[in-house]
């Protein structure tokens, strides 16, 4: 039982107390419900991988967006998680490509730039002829810090760096912003000095 508590405690946003609660909840579940959960976890691990180019979730080597020839590859929208792509796509304001960092800089969670897909982003700039990078990380402390880090890294390379406009709920996540607000933030993006 301690193993399960420890494993759950490693999940994002789950503290030791919540891990214990979830474990006790799982203990009460009928066996078939527990199996359903276990199978769902294994299935998603086996079938879904990450796109080789942008690290979005994908069922093949390249994701649906990277294989869509109508997308403009000169503009890259940098997000923290694949779910943020869903949020941006819902706005219907954006026709460029994406790059998923798979997180944000957060020493507390042991995440520095080297744990993120930063090198991979740098490697895309020249081959894809990228002219603009939109920093679309979350409007919270870690997202802002990540955007600042990337801006300082990319600015000397002579690429246009923009940050989505403020107006998003501060301290929140992109996924909670409604389409209209996010769409406006994207449209009103400003060049980072």
């Amino acid at each position: 039982m301690q193993d399960l508590i420890d494993e759950l405690g490693r999940m994002p946003g789950v503290g030791p107390k919540s891990a214990q609660r979830i474990t006790f909840h799982l203990l009460k579940l009928p066996r078939e419900d527990a199996l359903k959960l276990a199978t769902a976890i294994i299935e998603v691990k086996d079938k879904v991988t990450f796109c080789e180019r942008c690290f979005n979730v994908s069922e093949g080597p390249l994701c649906g967006i990277c294989t869509d020839e109508r997308r403009d590859t000169h503009v890259v929208c940098v997000v923290e998680e694949p779910r943020d792509i869903v949020a941006v796509e819902k706005t219907h304001e954006y026709r460029g490509s994406y790059h998923v960092l798979q997180g944000a800089i957060s020493p507390i969670e042991g995440i520095g730039p080297e744990q993120l897909k930063v090198k991979e982003l740098l490697g895309r700039l020249d081959p894809e002829g990228v002219t603009e990078v939109i920093l679309c990380t979350n409007p919270n402390i870690e997202g802002e810090a990540t955007a600042m880090y990337l801006a300082r890294l990319l600015k000397p390379l002579g690429i246009k760096i923009t940050r989505i406009a403020s107006g998003l709920p501060v301290g929140g996540d992109l996924e909670y912003a409604d389409e209209l607000t996010l769409g406006r933030a994207l449209e009103g993006r400003r060049e980072v000095e």
Binding site: R21, H25, I105, S106, P107, I108, G110, G112, P113, E114, I141, E142, E144, A145, M148, Y149, R152, L153, V170, G171, G172, Y176
Partner: protein, 358 residues
């Protein structure tokens, strides 16, 4: 603002309870351990979404219960709102305003405002600087809700920066330096704003505290109150840059708003070390009265006063003086003994074993 009605379900030792406080003074009497303070704690919870006794969330649930509910009807200048906090043993707590759940519980802040006097208030003067920084920050949040996010930002950036320094283990690689620079920029930005807000608040509190001190102390004295933040002269960005080598070597953040002090003095001498116990007690009362006044001015109407068993700690003079000094508005006091002389409650309720007896 004032509280028209309070309902509790499975909160602390109350299975259910209902109280309609007077618009003026309500006295809650009863023996110790019967649940007097729990009533004030429930009201305070709606103001800050935390216990003013510092109790963790699950300590607020009646033993064996999965959920506690604190609900109140609040009158803000004639606008009546129903606010409700649901505390859960498992899962997230929920907050509802006019029966609509709030997406973020913190959005409740500012709806209910309280000023709490507690027997532990002496720590404001005798305790370490953290006590006084908390007083400043709590008062800032009560004055304007935006300060809640500012305080949270500063805390978070500091935790990130200090964690990074610990991970660096005394060595500054190019990678760590690049991220440290980002955290420093973030800390400088948020820290400057918090420092400005605290300094401005201290300037506002100083005359109110001095006046309140003379009202509650047996002997008037020159009371000083000043926000001390050594980094503010050169700016936090510069101060952080200067401290960097030291910070890296020691793996701590040595400069910033988390190291600041609200310096208190009585008769020109530091209150923490040089004032008598009586002077310290008067100063603690004066600080609470001053924050009450300043929050009332900022918010447009005075907060609800919660006086938790304070009179037992005060001599007759200070009790009477405090009662005289209480500004108009809603107040609830608890006492295990007799009412302090001069207290004329509009409503008196007795609490016994988790039941309110009218």
């Amino acid at each position: 603002m004032f509280l028209r009605h309070l309902w509790l379900t499975d909160f602390r030792n109350y299975a259910t309870a209902e109280l309609a406080p007077a618009t003026g003074l309500t006295a809650i009497v009863g023996d110790n351990g019967e649940g007097k303070t729990n009533l004030l704690e429930a009201i305070g919870y709606l103001a800050t979404l935390s216990s003013f006794r510092g109790a963790p969330g699950d300590a607020l649930l009646r033993s064996g219960c999965e959920r506690a509910i604190v609900r109140a009807e609040v009158d803000n200048d004639g606008r009546v709102a129903s606010v409700e906090a649901e505390l859960h043993a498992i899962g997230r707590d929920r907050v509802l305003v006019n029966r609509q759940p709030l997406r973020r519980s913190r959005d409740l802040l500012g709806t209910v405002r309280t000023t709490v006097f507690s027997p532990d208030d002496l720590a404001l003067v005798k305790g370490g600087p953290a006590e006084r920084r908390r007083l400043l920050d709590d008062t800032l949040v009560a004055c304007a809700v935006k300060h809640d996010a500012l305080r949270a930002d500063v805390d978070r950036v500091l935790r990130q920066r200090t964690t990074l320094l610990k991970q660096a283990g005394g060595r500054l690689t190019a990678d760590i330096e690049a991220t440290l620079e980002v955290w420093d920029a973030k800390l400088a930005d948020a820290g400057e704003r918090l420092g400005d807000a605290r300094d401005e608040l201290a300037t506002r509190l100083a005359p109110s505290t001095a006046a309140a001190y003379d009202a509650v102390a047996p002997r008037p004295a020159r009371v000083g109150l000043r926000y001390e933040a050594p980094w503010r002269d050169e700016g936090l960005a510069t101060a952080l840059a200067k401290a960097r080598a030291d910070d890296v070597r020691r793996s701590v953040s040595t400069v910033g708003p988390h190291r600041d002090e609200l310096a208190l003095s009585v008769g020109g001498l530091p209150a923490r070390t040089h004032a008598s116990q009586g002077e310290q007690r008067s100063l603690a009362l004066a600080l609470r009265l001053a924050t009450h006044e300043v929050v009332g001015e900022s918010a447009g109407s005075p907060p609800v006063l919660l006086l938790d068993d304070v009179f037992s700690e005060l001599d007759g003079f200070r009790s009477a003086a405090l009662l005289r000094s209480l500004p108009a508005g809603q107040a609830l006091l608890t006492t295990a003994g007799a009412l302090p002389p001069g207290a004329v409650p509009e409503l008196l309720v007795r609490v016994q074993g988790g039941t309110i007896v009218p």
